[in-house]
């Protein structure tokens, strides 16, 4: 345990650890590639159904009303196929394909694994548009944090500026967005503003677009999250800027650099490294806050898992949701660590 802690602190060993991490990651990727080639094909999976089911599928081919619903999901190394009938006789058959074989998955561990694959597939939003599942969460979080960082930098510069009106205005903005719940801000932007000004978010898009409602809601969410994140980032940026020694300002001034040059060339580049850890934190908070979009019916991981829970009465659906969130968080923590390391070269 002691040596493990030492290894964390010791940078020389850390380099070795990164190498090891990389090797492990590459091995996992290679294994995934191999396994993805070995997994049974879609046709194989669809031909797994029992004789009774096959007959019904055949009978369906002629008629317009289908009795059998076939669900096929593929998740890189595993795939899942289920056949279910509706009507007088309800039968469900499930199969999981893995390493060249299809396993029956109607009970026990097989059923559990099948459900996991199915739910994960649906929450990731595979094969569907960006307003779906994990993609929505990722896109919303990344875009709104980006907006937040840019807006936050401007707000921070405004707040520390000598112009009193500007400074007060920026402080008021920050106070407002940090002092009210994000969900209410989301509601105000999605419901209240359109009601007051007489427009609808879906109007931004072509009326023929059947996704217009969702796209409109997404824009509203992006604005709400961006504005909110801006307020939090502003405080982060301000703290980072003000933590730079006064001597840096003086040296720049003595060399004749203007205020904006000093900020742009000297102060902000130095404060970036100090901003990275709290911005990473803010990003991860955002990622989790993004689950609030269920309140305006956007189909993110949380909404989908809630829907699956109510429609299929399956409570294990929250486990893959947790795992997906964790994987996304871990990935971004790693990226932010790398950025932080890059900027710490000179300190």
């Amino acid at each position: 345990m002691k040596s493990f802690l030492k290894g964390l602190i010791d940078i020389k060993n850390w380099k070795k650890r990164t190498k090891t991490t990389w090797v492990i990651v590459l091995i996992i990727i290679a294994a995934c590639i191999v396994l993805s080639f070995l997994k049974p094909s879609e046709a194989d999976m669809k031909s797994m159904a029992s004789k009774e089911m096959q007959e019904m599928i055949k009978a369906d081919e002629g008629s317009s009303r289908k009795r059998v619903t076939i669900t096929y999901n593929s998740l890189i190394i595993v795939n899942y196929c289920s056949f279910s009938t509706s009507g007088a006789k309800e039968i469900t058959e499930r199969y999981v394909g893995f390493v060249g074989r299809a396993f029956q998955a109607d009970k026990g561990f097989g059923k559990f694994a099948g459900q996991m694959v199915n739910y994960t597939y649906r929450m990731l939003g595979c094969g569907e548009n960006i307003l779906h599942g994990a993609k929505l969460t990722l896109f919303l979080t990344t875009a709104s944090t980006l907006i937040g960082v840019i807006l936050g930098t401007l707000l921070a510069l405004g707040k520390i500026s000598k112009n009193k009106i500007l400074s007060k205005a920026c402080s008021a903005y920050i106070f407002f967005f940090r002092g009210t719940p994000l969900m209410i801000q989301l509601f105000v932007i999605y419901y209240t503003l359109p009601a007051v000004f007489g427009y609808a978010w879906r109007d931004l898009f072509n009326a023929a677009d059947n996704q217009a409602v969702y796209k409109g809601a997404f824009i509203a969410a992006l604005i709400a999250y961006g504005l909110n994140s801006g307020a939090y980032c502003a405080e982060i940026v301000r703290a980072a800027i003000q933590s730079i020694e006064k001597g840096q300002h003086e040296a720049a001034k003595a060399l004749g650099l203007s205020y904006s040059q000093t900020m742009r060339l000297i102060i902000i580049p130095q404060s970036v490294r100090r901003m990275v850890p709290p911005i990473c934190n803010e990003f991860i908070m955002m990622l989790k806050d993004a689950s609030l979009v269920f309140a305006i019916s956007l189909m993110d991981i949380t909404t989908i898992s809630k829907n699956i829970m109510t429609s299929e009465i399956s409570y294990i659906v929250f486990l893959p949701a947790l795992v997906i969130y964790l994987i996304i968080t871990a990935f971004f923590t790693w990226i932010f660590n790398a950025i932080e390391k890059k900027f710490s070269l000179y300190e």
């Binding site: 020694e245 001597g247 840096q248 003086e250 040296a251 001034k253 003595a254 060399l255 004749g256 650099l257 040059q261 060339l265 000297i266 580049p269 130095q270 070269l345 000179y346 300190e347």
Partner: protein
């Protein structure tokens, strides 16, 4: 531009923070090429005076002339004569400054530190500036450190880079604010040597320092400041060997006895 008697002139420069008087009616005339050392106990206002010359501190009242041109005129904490921004900037750039804590830009390499201001402020050609910067680095003996980041250098090396950075703007006056106070004793020599070379080349220098040896050897004039006024001024010989003011006497006694 060269029709001036004094390269730097301050008239009745005063500064107070509320009721606390930091500088009281300081008059100084500096000829081109003069080296002036400012000594005195801490809290005497030496650094404040030096820093108010290039506007790092705002004076409460007084006039500052650079190369015969009015640079700043304030009365009762207000600027009374507005000077054209461009002229003021030009005059400001006639002064280079070195700080006690070096204040190099830690995110830029040594070479970038030196090239930054000439390129950004004077809009000079990058390649020319780079060449000149390398020459300046050679002059301060650090040519091989051009691509290092400041934190890899010793304090003495950092201060020499800071001097090169200030010189890159081709100032006519150099202000040194206790340039060796933050250095380990064995590193002081190199920095002082660079400053001596600079003085020998005819640079006008104002140096706030505790290095009495340097003041004795290099200064043309020594100012002894105490309680916000210039208590005594004169040649190094006069100040160090025959001080008249009792404050100067007791200060030198306490310093030389250490």
């Amino acid at each position: 531009m060269d029709n001036y008697e004094y390269i730097l002139e301050t008239e009745h420069v005063s500064k107070n923070f509320g009721n606390l008087v930091v500088l009281k009616d300081i008059n100084l005339k500096v000829k081109k090429g003069e080296v002036i050392c400012i000594i005195g106990p801490s809290g005497a206002g030496k650094s404040t005076y030096l820093r108010s010359l290039n506007q790092l501190e705002k004076i409460s009242s007084g006039k500052i002339f650079i190369k015969g041109d009015l640079f700043l005129h304030r009365e009762k904490d207000r600027t009374v004569e507005r000077i054209d921004k461009k002229t003021q900037q030009q005059l400001l750039l006639e002064m280079g400054m070195c700080f006690q804590r070096f204040n190099l830009f830690p995110h830029k390499t040594v070479l970038e530190n030196i090239c930054l201001a000439p390129v950004q402020v004077k809009h000079e050609d990058k390649e020319t500036v780079k060449k000149e910067a390398m020459e300046l680095l050679k002059k301060v003996g650090l040519a091989e450190k051009a691509d290092e980041f400041p934190n890899r250098l010793s304090g003495g090396q950092q201060q020499r880079v800071a001097i090169a950075r200030a010189l890159a703007m081709k100032p006519e006056i150099m202000l040194f604010d206790e340039p060796t106070s933050a250095l380990d004793p064995e590193l002081v020599g190199d920095v002082l040597q660079v400053m001596k070379d600079l003085a020998n080349e005819g640079m006008t220098m104002l140096v706030v320092t505790h290095e009495m040896g340097f003041a004795k050897e290099v200064a043309d004039r020594v100012l002894f400041m105490a309680d916000g006024i210039i208590a005594e001024e004169g040649s190094p010989d006069k100040i160090f060997n025959n001080p008249e003011n009792p404050r100067t006497q007791s200060f030198l006694k306490s310093i030389l006895n250490v």
